[in-house]
């Protein structure tokens, strides 16, 4: 007769999951901090061209976007198929760019106002006419640092 009786079944003990919420919370906070919500919904078709010599835009808070392209399918009935400019959430004309520049500048710190990069997100099938108009408008209000938004590729073809 043994003094110590074996306890019933001996199976593997369950894995301790007490730390699981902590791990998940850690991940959650990481994503909460890094996430940037999409502020604007695109109203224009926007496929940017490809280029090899691209550089990254460093500070997202110092970038303002100007979209140019044809209206998306569902809006073509109301706005036609010719290329248009989209600022923030609405279609605008080139005369509105000066105001847009002013507003974007006001939203930033005084010291950073002339460090804003104006990123032109232009659809690849757009004609240069409207792009040049946008550029001229930007020049007039001294918004000179621009970026032609492009995707990176290894080689361009004819």
């Amino acid at each position: 007769m043994s003094k110590f009786r074996k306890k019933g079944k001996k199976g593997q003990p369950a894995v301790n999951t007490a730390a699981l919420p902590d791990i998940v919370f850690m991940l959650l906070f990481f994503f909460m901090v890094t996430t940037v919500m999409r502020e604007t919904s695109l109203k224009v078709i926007n496929i940017t061209p490809k280029a090899t010599e691209v550089s990254k835009l460093e500070r997202k808070s110092l970038v303002a976007y100007i979209y140019v392209g044809k209206p998306i399918k569902s809006l073509q009935g109301a706005f036609g198929t010719s290329a248009r400019i989209q600022l923030n959430d609405a279609f605008k004309t080139k005369e509105d760019i000066a105001l847009f520049v002013e507003m974007e500048r006001d939203a930033r710190d005084e010291a950073e106002r002339n460090m804003i990069t104006w990123s032109l997100k232009v659809d690849q099938n757009t004609k240069m006419g409207i792009v040049t108009e946008v550029k001229q408008q930007l020049r007039e209000v001294n918004a000179l640092k621009i970026n032609y938004s492009t995707k990176k590729t290894d080689k361009i073809s004819n």
């Binding site: 999409r38 240069m128 621009i146």
Partner: protein
Amino acid sequence: MGKREISEINAGSMADIAFLLLIFFLVTTTMDTDTGLIRRLPPPPEEIPDENDKVKQRNIFEILVNANDQLLVEGEYLEVTELRDKAKAFIESDPTNPEMPEFKETEIPGLGVVAVSKQIISLQNDNGTSYEMYIKVQNELVAAYNELRNEFSQQKFNKSYEELAQQAGSSDAAKEKMKAVKKFYPQRISEAEPKKVGGAE
């Protein structure tokens, strides 16, 4: 009456709630940073430029793009893939060739007095040129400058321009070298006002 102990809140479902939130943020997050070709526009025109400022024809590399996305470079029909080498040859220049740009003795800190070519690239496009073509041309020109800078930097400092640019943030010596290379091959791309010639819509 005995003290009653407050029962602990069951935290078993906390993980589930956290997972739910995590998945939401995972889905909505956009990690992509914008990339592109960074350019500086010329300041708004103030006065009519002086006639004396006129640049000699041999110093200008003329690129025309028409509404059908065809290239005319220095009066010659060219494919966009051939543009890079042609631009490189022009920017680098050749002292023995009277067709190529002139040189100007310039003092560059870190390099001493060197002959810098007086190249200017003039780009003119039509209102009907597609943006895709425009970016291609711009890209090739930037590539030409970058390649020349890399070659020159490699030969002078044993490091490519890209490496110098990467180190410029941490080391002042690299920054000085980078500036010197940049001064030797300054990016001079001038864009003329587009013509409204038409052709294709």
